[in-house]
């Protein structure tokens, strides 16, 4: 059974020359009881997709079912099945944490007593009990974020949309939140979560979809994606540029992948399948051949690596040029995708 089904979702902002195609033909299915993570750089269209699925933005093309209800035709039914925590914490800063949660409960049509009890539970769960009766404008960014997340859990929603839920949280709070998310999943909830961190997607998601320029460019489990990127790699910074060639030979020997050379920073990168054991071999070999190094590390693939692999571009360059690129893309892509969606 699919908790979320999206077919050919399209969203265009503006019109004419200035049209920005934020989402151009996203297909997505999320099975009930699973966590799907949407991974993508700034401006990829994550928030826009979430906003369409949660009834906040009209859908320009395509179709979406959430909890079995058509998002366009039965928005109210969708709303009573979902919890949403948007990218930026949206709590009433003049109300206390407790008042905020009580209000959300009441607006989900809980009785005053039910809402109060639920607020207590959530405050406890999100470690906000001490600050519960202070106006939320006195909260730190992370506390506000946690309050916002608590607000999305008021009714034990069957389907949760979390847009970059851990951005701005300290490591401890991030781990706490991961626990809460896992608890929800054990309780049967379905979660669509966006993130910019592969690590987070890795820790939580059953499946990852990578989105860029409003299109899904890859999907699979974390392992499948990492395999695409080539798994772990060893990075070496050679001290003496004259010894670069020797170092390359040594690295190449212990790996069946291609060694990437950056002359400028004297950095060599080579894929490895042996983890830290491979690292030890390389260090020993380099030492034996008297190649002095400034730095050496075993690196796991990052979002940037996935991006580099999938698009041939760095995620950061991507973010910087997104708006301009999306603009031109939009002009060309609009008709085709709209036709696609109309089918």
């Amino acid at each position: 059974m699919n908790a979320i089904i999206a077919e050919g979702l399209v969203k265009t902002f503006g019109s004419g020359d200035k049209a920005v195609k934020a989402v151009s033909g996203v297909d997505l299915t999320v099975d009930e009881g699973t966590v799907v993570s949407m991974l993508g750089p700034n401006g990829a269209g994550k928030t826009t997709t979430v906003r369409m699925l949660t009834t906040l933005l009209p859908i320009d093309g395509g179709r979406a079912l959430v909890a079995g209800y058509d998002v366009a035709d039965q928005p109210q039914a969708v709303r009573s099945s979902i919890g949403l925590s948007g990218q930026f914490a949206a709590v009433d800063e003049n109300l206390t944490g407790r008042e905020n949660l009580w209000m959300f409960g009441r607006l989900y049509q809980l009785s005053s007593k039910q809402a109060a009890r639920r607020a207590d539970e959530l405050l406890e769960q999100f470690s906000l009990t001490d600050a519960a009766d202070r106006p939320s404008k006195t909260y730190s960014g992370g506390m506000r974020r946690r309050l916002d997340l608590a607000g999305s859990l008021v009714i034990h929603p069957k389907i949760l949309f979390l847009d970059e839920p851990t951005t701005g949280l300290d490591p401890a709070s991030r781990l706490d939140l991961w626990d809460i998310i896992r608890q929800r999943v054990r309780g049967g909830a379905t979660i669509l979560l966006t993130t910019q961190y592969l690590e987070e997607a890795d820790a939580l998601a059953d499946r990852i979809v990578v989105i860029d320029h409003g299109r899904i460019i890859a999907e699979g489990t974390a392992d499948e994606l990492k395999a695409k990127v080539g798994g772990e790699r060893i990075e070496v910074v050679v001290h003496d540029p004259a010894l670069m060639q020797r170092a390359i030979e040594i690295l190449q020997r212990g790996s069946d992948g291609q060694c990437v050379v950056d002359e400028h920073t004297r950095k060599l990168t080579v894929p490895t399948t042996m983890g830290s054991k491979g690292l030890v071999h390389v260090i020993r070999d380099l030492d034996e051949h008297k190649v002095e190094i400034d730095d050496i590390a075993l690196r796991r693939p990052t979002l940037d690596d996935v991006f580099l692999e999938l698009t041939g571009r760095h995620a950061e360059d991507e973010a910087a040029s997104t708006d301009a690129a999306a603009g031109t893309d939009a002009a060309a892509g609009t008709d085709a995708a709209a036709k696609e969606a109309a089918k």
Binding site: E32, G86, F88, D92, N94, M103, L107, Q109, G151
Partner: protein, 286 residues
């Protein structure tokens, strides 16, 4: 992977209220949050009182001496009696400001998005804003009336017309709150809303009989003033409170001020309430 079907289970689904009771519930919750939150930032409320009080002092004691009330040229203090209805109407018209700033602020902070993702009544957020702002306008009106009594304003027509006058003022505030709601949701930024809500209102209020009798204006301006909705409201208030409503003008709205005022309120509500609700449904936060 679970295979349970997706029909909402009773354990996670809150009881469904029927349409009207849900609208009322949601409206009152939002009104509660506005008042509760508003009381924690009293400075904004204080400005709402200070401005009309300054107007009373300015007009009663500075400009007032130079303004003649037709038909009461030689009566001492006549202008202050004349002035107060104008102040009341102006104060009610300025209800635009809190409504537009409040909603723009909610939109700016992403709260409107949040509310729109909840299974609440579509009109609840605006209606709640209107209810809470109407309550604070009522308090402001009472304070202005006390100010009026202090500077010499009196009610001459008995209790029922007085209550009618108060009701009319609140109806007008109610109408203007919808205008404010539309502005706030359209601009979506509290700073812009603060000026966009009021900047057009000053000329509209000054081009009326609120502070200066239209009889003293050039013909064209005078005609505009006589048909200005503000003038109808002010004239109606003067009628109902019995403040020097010696009508010199024979323009229809001045002759039938109470009826004209009611009609204007109905028209404003009829136009702006649906527009505001529609804007809310389509609102996208900036």
């Amino acid at each position: 992977m679970s295979t349970t079907d997706l029909t909402p289970s009773t354990t996670t689904q809150p009881p469904k209220n029927s349409g009207l009771s849900q609208v009322l519930n949601d409206t009152m919750i939002i009104a509660w949050r506005n008042i509760r939150g508003g009381l924690r930032v009293p400075d904004t409320q204080i400005y709402m009182f200070i401005q009309p009080i300054m107007f009373v002092l300015l007009f009663a004691y500075v400009f007032g001496g130079a303004i003649q009330v037709p038909g009461a040229e030689n009566i001492a203090g006549a202008y202050r009696e004349y002035l107060m209805a104008g102040i009341f109407v102006q104060t009610m018209a300025f209800a635009v400001a809190p409504a537009s700033v409040g909603l723009a602020d909610d939109m700016h902070k992403g709260l409107i998005d949040r509310f729109r993702s909840l299974p609440m009544a579509r009109s609840g957020v605006i209606a709640g804003r209107v209810v809470s702002d109407l309550a604070s306008q009522f308090v402001v009106l009472i304070i202005m009336m006390i100010c009026g009594l202090i500077v010499g304003w009196r009610v001459h027509n008995g209790v029922l017309p007085f209550l009618g006058g108060v009701g009319l003022m609140l109806l007008f505030a109610f109408a203007m709150l919808w205008v404010g709601a539309l502005i706030g949701l359209s601009v979506g930024n509290p700073q812009v809303a603060a000026s966009a809500g009021l900047i057009w209102l000053f000329p509209v209020v000054f081009l009326s009989n609120a502070f200066v009798p239209p009889e003293s204006m050039p013909t064209v301006v005078r005609n505009i003033a006589e048909w200005n909705p503000i003038s109808a409201l002010v004239a109606a208030a003067r009628d109902l409170f019995g403040n020097q409503s010696i009508i010199v003008s024979d323009a229809w709205p001045m002759q039938n001020a109470v009826l004209a005022a009611l009609l204007w309120c109905v028209v404003i509500i009829g136009v702006f309430a649906p527009l505001a609700v529609r804007k809310y449904k389509a609102a996208a936060s900036k």
